[in-house]
Symmetry: C2
Subunit: 253 residues, 2 copies
DNA sequence: GCCAACGATTTGGAATGCAATATTAGAGGG
DNA sequence: CCCTCTAATATTGCATTCCAAATCGTTGGC
């Protein structure tokens, strides 16, 4: 750490800050999005400490919006704030991840049930299209595109359920496991299984078979856990940063 | 509005601020808890605008921790922050509430399934005890106690599932409908139905019948929607504050 | 009498400054 | 050589201050 005065070290300025096309969002929101992405894309490692001054100056903002953003990320459980000791990137234990995937499974089961009833034909056709795009990425072994399309398909099914709270909740829990699933996807060996399951899922949606879609989605997420636990945790340490935490901090009740 | 300089007008100082027994939590957390309670207990009305300077001085804090607290409550969807226009207490539409109850139903279904497997006999006995206490409150027509015990029972079942993310998610969605369920409980006429359902729920837990408990809980929440929609929305306007909102603000993707 | 433009005031957004707490480095003693 | 106590440093917590945007009241024109 030689330099100290250089404002922008490794991360540039905020993306939206310069291109003021969308009516300029509050700084806090921009910072929250930026830091959230940094966590979710594994640029900030689990367990890593976040120093406010440092990160704020890297993002060319003051500590105030960064602190507000950290509070948001804390309630999204992406960071943990230890009183008087600062923020660290969340580092869920395997059993926690398992629990999150179960929650996502339950949410998708609910979403699928209602999507089968409420989705428009156009929505279903679009999901089918995304599915084909995903197959293309699979064929090319383009794992990143595959992963993102996979996420988008599931999100679209949830969206088709027409339940705002479900969408929000799903998105939030999903963000918590995004990084882990992303890493798992990059090294996953049993890749074809998920593809087959997806075909069934789309079919159930097209035939508007609510019960079957619900079951398939729930099972699919259970299967995701199997893959994640095998890929991520079996092969070396999942996290790259040294653990700084002294144990989970309780919530404020 | 005659006075302007009196610091504490209608709300006293923060509860924990004076009794510094628990290692003094950060102000932001205290403020978040206080304001959350004010919203959830209907002291701040849905749609009501929150003026930062005013509320901050009423709570004897500066705007900084209040603003941080509002960001937390925003991501809990208890307030809505309109850029440059301040925060208003969330005022979900009936269909939103319905969606939230469906989500809670799905979460409790999952929680019940695992609680039936993982709960200790002590936990089950404690839940049974809470159930009897609730019956006592029912018999006395003590609606407030009944309501709180009801909430506690459901929370305990979730807790017995041993899934941290599930507990957190459940708690968060639950907070969003707490006020509405509370109001509904106060005027609910078909009260005995829920009591009968609870008896079945406890029985299913005691026999560790996971499938049945899961189904019962899901149905129970569906039933809750029936009551809430009948009690709260049919009888006069659910919210007491005038609407200030121009429509839901999008989230920041 | 109604509406639009303008200025004063209020309110939220963000940066800065100061106090309190935690962390680190170093000296001294065992 | 290790441990402990202490002083220096770094970091967070919170209040204050400054700035920009929105709101409100007023005036002037139609």
């Amino acid at each position: 750490m030689a330099e100290k005065n250089s404002a922008e070290k490794k991360f540039g300025t905020l993306p939206i800050a310069e291109s003021n096309n969308v009516a300029r969002l509050p700084l806090t929101s921009q910072v929250a999005t930026t830091v959230r992405d940094m966590i979710v894309e594994d640029k900030l490692k689990p367990g890593e400490r976040i120093r406010e001054r440092q990160l704020a100056s890297e993002l060319n903002v003051s500590r105030t919006p960064l602190r507000e953003a950290l509070k948001i990320l804390e309630s999204e459980k992406l960071v943990e704030i230890l009183p008087n000791r600062g923020a660290v990137v969340a580092d869920p234990a395997p059993e926690d991840v398992r629990g999150m995937l179960q929650v996502i499974g339950a949410l998708e089961a609910l979403g699928g049930r209602h999507a089968a009833e409420n989705a428009t034909d156009e929505e279903i056709a679009e999901i089918r299209a995304l599915h084909y795009e995903m197959l293309a990425a699979y064929s090319r072994k383009d794992r990143l595109t595959y992963f993102k399309l996979n996420q988008k398909i599931h999100g679209s099914i949830i969206a088709a359920s027409r339940n705002a709270a479900l969408m929000e909740t799903h998105e939030q829990v999903n963000a918590r496991v995004y990084r882990i699933r992303y890493r798992s996807n990059q090294r996953n060996t049993l890749w074809h299984e998920a593809v087959d399951q997806h075909e069934e899922i789309i079919a159930a949606l097209e035939t508007r078979n609510a019960d079957r879609l619900s079951t398939l989605l729930s099972d699919h997420l259970g299967n995701t856990w199997a893959k994640v636990s095998a890929d991520d945790y079996a092969s070396g340490s999942g996290s790259s940063a040294e653990k700084l935490r002294s144990g989970d901090v309780g919530k404020e009740t």
